[in-house]
């Protein structure tokens, strides 16, 4: 691995709380190793800011291996940056050019108020799950796991939907700030499995009602969410969600 470095300019959104107006600030960062991840580059920026007596940039992150869904940066106009199929923490600096200006913004959506800088409040996604994104079984009393066979392709499709990491890139990238892909993923995951079909109708109605209540927009099938989803969740699940919703309302 070559120890190549680049010099970059950063335009980073700074906002001191949900009610602050917010603005871009520009920073120069030299000798950034191209083998570093985007968040490691942000660490370098923060270390520099601290050493200059300035306040570091606040951002969410945790696992740094693309699975926890915490990191959430809008980079050069794209959720999780220029690469597809990755979260911000899996994005590496070798994708950027020497001398390039990189613009970094938070997720922007009415339902995701900015807490500070690049950190937003995504508890609305938890609220949607809370409204019904589960199978209502208590611990104990479950039948033997092999009692109900599930076709391999059905289980596999359920997994494709269950793959969602709840990062909110779909909402951030949608011009309507819709959470349809997120809801579709959970509704489809559970409705595909026999265990989840028992309360499928109730579930979809509750989750959609909660989604609307929380200020997420409607879906107009632009497909941007699918492009930016780091886990490649297909908008075919939105079609599935629509069928489930219609079914629940027409045949209660």
């Amino acid at each position: 691995m070559a120890n190549k470095t680049i010099n970059i300019k950063l335009r980073v959104w700074r906002q001191n709380g949900p009610h602050d107006k917010g603005h871009f600030e520009e920073y120069e960062l030299n000798n950034v190793p191209t083998a570093a991840s985007f968040l490691e580059m942000m660490d370098l920026l923060n270390e520099k800011l601290i050493s200059e007596g300035k306040e570091p940039v606040a951002f969410d992150h945790d696992c740094r291996e693309g699975i926890c869904g915490a990191c959430s940066m809008y980079i050069n106009g794209r959720a999780h940056g220029p690469a597809t199929g990755v979260t911000t923490c899996q994005l590496h600096m070798r994708l950027f050019k020497d001398g390039e200006t990189i613009t970094v913004e938070p997720w922007r959506a009415k339902a995701f108020p900015v807490i500070k800088d690049l950190m937003v409040d995504r508890s609305a996604l938890d609220e949607i799950i809370k409204a019904g994104g589960y199978i209502s079984v208590n611990t104990g009393g479950a039948p033997d796991a092999n009692t109900i066979p599930i076709p391999k392709d059905v289980a596999s499709r359920a997994f494709d939907a269950a793959n969602c990491i709840g990062c909110g890139a779909c909402v951030a990238t949608c011009k309507n700030s819709s959470a349809m892909l997120f809801v579709a993923a959970k509704v489809s995951h559970l409705a595909l499995l026999p265990q989840g079909q028992v309360e499928a109708k109730e579930r979809v109605k509750k989750m959609i009602a909660k989604m609307d209540e929380l200020g997420f927009g409607s879906c107009t099938n632009t497909g941007a969410c699918e492009v930016e989803c780091p886990k490649g969740i297909s908008i075919a699940f939105i079609a599935k969600l629509n069928r489930e919703y219609l079914n629940a309302n027409l045949m209660p």
Partner: protein
Amino acid sequence: MIKLDAKIPQGRLKEKWTNYKENQALVSPANKRKLDIIVVGTGLAGASAAATLAELGFNVKVFCYQDSPRRAHSVAAQGGINAAKNYQNDGDSVWRLYYDTIKGGDYRSREANVYRLAEVSSNIIDQAVAQGVPFAREYGGLLANRSFGGVLVSRTFYARGQTGQQLLLGAYQALMRQVNLGKIKLYPRTEMMNIVIIDGRARGIITRNLITGEIQRHFGHAVVLATGGYGNVYYLSTNAMGSNVSAAWKAHKKGAAFANPAFVQIHPTAIPQHGEYQSKLTLMSESLRNDGRVWVPKKVEDAKAIREGRKRPEDIPDEDRDFYLERMYPAYGNLVPRDVAARAAKKVCDEGRGIENNPTHEGVFLDFKYAIERLGRKVIEERYGNLFEMYEKITGDNPYETPMKIYPAVHYTMGGLWVDYELMSTIPGLFVIGEANFSDHGANRLGASALMQGLADGYFILPYTIQNYLADQITVKPIELSHPEFEKAEKEVRDHIKHLMSINGKYSVDHFHRQLGRIMWNKVGIVRNAQGLKEAIDEIRALREEFWKNVRVPGTADGINVELEKANRVADFFELAELMAIDALHREESCGGHFREEYQTEEGEPLRRDDLFMYVAAWEYKGDGQKHEWELNKEPLVYEETPIKVRNYKVAK
């Protein structure tokens, strides 16, 4: 000296858990409503425990530092979860799972606990399937299994390479359902800062809101810690950035014994470190060793040429490659257990044959050329396509064309707070579950057993055993938050924060954490010896002193302050680090992940000393907060029904 009473129930091994459940005290539904339980942490253990306790009717308060409980680091577990279902008809049983676990742990775990773990393992799979966890299936629709290192049967259930994520989502959804029903109150972005002990019992916690900086008091009739392991003491590990020991450590300093802190699992296949700025290590699944061959150049010059970019690995002919695992362990070859593979990698790198261009030259090759020649690229793509892609994204190298570079990384900590059979620590009313306790893995954990243990504790063990404690607490009224002990615990937190903020020194928290990590990795890492450990203790103390003189925490404590969060955690790591070195120094034997150079056979294999060290080392804090001291308490490990063997991976048996 504390009295360590493991409270192991009477009877034969296979009867103990049944006997316990038949004789334990229970709490009636009407009384459950009157009892408050605090659960800290929302990984597999915490989320499953919180959901189950709430389903039973208790009032539960749940805390996590992440913005959502779904992000706890259990989410990152890849490989799978073990269970003794014997769906493959290959001779598996509760006894075999039990025996593999206790043997894999090198006979440093408690017989009765491990047997119970194997017993409840099957229920976990049933529960997860009922919740909608999409495990892999066969064409006939039944559940699929695969094999994992160190065992002879296929008992691992998996959901692609994201088993931890899927199991965690199952537990998280169960938890959110209880939040919806009003039985759980959730506190995300909240960190536990201290524990409150009243009349010798755990009665509450002090927390800090990570957004507002607000310090809060919370009462519970019992407190459950599910706060994970302490691998981040090494700075670089496969843990999440926020993973920390603080909750467990605060409890330790208030009287909870800390057991076997030196037992750390170092995973052999992570992507090597590439630079000083690096923040964490990424694991590559252990399954890769099924088809990849591990090697380094035979000649030191070749290794040097590769590091300097003058040669490529493809330039080294087969006869100049040292497939050292196949050479050293002919029977198991590239599939030796984690600790064995990790030590061998260190050995060849210490000989100057490491291939990574980093300051320590730590790295070896994992080569798929041979598997591609044998099976074709398509088969390899099917098996490992997503992993290869991930590797290429991170490193920029294409593993179909050039070998992967890997090196061991700190992954899991077997040590933790000491608990008895009921999962209660030496502080009455303080329960510890999942990776946070010293648990069931002895000196080494087998693959796919961490998920099993976390969920066993949370779904099927703690919800029983905690009732045995709470049964005589039903008349205890919630204690006022103005109680002097709450006052005192909160004041300690405020003083601690004030102290850290007032130092205003020259260096960042990470500056110190990185140095601490280096000491730990070099001297309390894959291989240890008495001299190195003594040096480590001195170096840790000196660096800790420097930290308290020269750390800089900018900003204020009244809002988001990531540097303050890090400083709080690293301050605790500094104290834990010393205890880890002390424990490693005292344990004059080699077992599992703990390898002492002085104690090896002539062939270089670990030398376990059962006559002297077949015990759990439970350390009791005796310091005054300034000077740290510990007293050793021993819980002898008695194997009533288990044949005791020596692990040997040179021959098949």
